[in-house]
């Protein structure tokens, strides 16, 4: 890592610290995985999916 990048990162961290605890929290709407894993998460959902697939 170059000195200039080290400084850039250190400056960014210092800027963040100055925020204190008043900063923005990550939105709960941010996905924490592929959109697909949310479709089938439980055996019941898998069964419902297979049922709809077979009746298609």
């Amino acid at each position: 890592m170059t000195k200039s990048l080290e400084k850039k990162i250190a400056d960014l961290k210092a800027k963040a610290k100055r925020m204190g605890k008043n900063g923005v929290k990550p939105s709960s709407a941010v996905r924490n995985g592929s959109s697909l894993h949310k479709i089938i998460k439980t055996p019941e959902q898998a069964k419902a999916f297979m049922k709809s697939l077979q009746s298609a």
């Binding site: 170059t2 990048l5 850039k8 990162i9 960014l12 924490n32």
Partner: protein, 178 residues
């Protein structure tokens, strides 16, 4: 969107942290028509549903509710600068959280493939800063036709472990890591 992105942490927009833990930050990109576009970078506070040390990194403009719209289509003037800024925010976070990984997943297959192309194009540069892995953690439905309903899942396309990405690795867009 341009593919010829050249990542360079010396060529970034001014990043404004919005939280003291660096999970939320923003910067303003310039669009092709010259207008400014505020963008937000967010690192999820919850780990990935299936990967306990992976935290999703999302980016994009925010909607009226203040949530990131990761499906927005924006014509940036300098894509290299935009993606360098996003990754610098991620790199800064990781220097404080060396035990964590950031997950970057395109909002659709085309974007995931584009990000992989960016990664490969800049592999030599990124390899100095990141350990990069790919992962396939769900089963694709990729069989069509007569046998589709007998066994629609392509279990051969699942790698149930992380796969260290190396330079020049070619993956078809429809079989991209997810």
């Amino acid at each position: 969107m341009a593919v010829a992105v050249k990542l360079d942490f010396d060529n970034t927009y001014e990043i404004d942290p919005l939280s003291d833990d660096l999970r939320v930050s923003s910067f303003t990109s310039e669009l092709q028509d010259g207008s400014p576009a505020p963008l937000r970078v967010e690192i999820s506070s919850e780990p990935h549903a299936l990967l306990p040390s992976v935290f999703n990194l999302a980016f994009g403009p925010t909607n009226a509710k203040g949530e990131i719209d990761d499906r927005a289509e924006i014509a940036h003037k300098d894509y290299s600068k935009v993606f360098s800024s996003i990754l610098l925010a991620g790199l800064t976070y990781l220097t404080d959280h060396p035990d964590q990984y950031l997950g970057i997943d395109g909002s659709n297959n085309a974007r995931a493939y584009l990000y992989y192309r960016f990664l490969q194009r800049n592999f030599g540069y990124l390899d100095h800063f990141f350990e990069m892995y790919g992962l396939k953690y769900y089963v694709r439905i990729s069989r069509f036709g007569k046998n589709q309903y007998d066994n629609p899942f392509d279990f051969d396309d699942v790698i149930p472990m992380t796969d260290r990405i190396s330079i020049g690795m070619v993956i078809r867009s429809n079989l991209m890591y997810n």
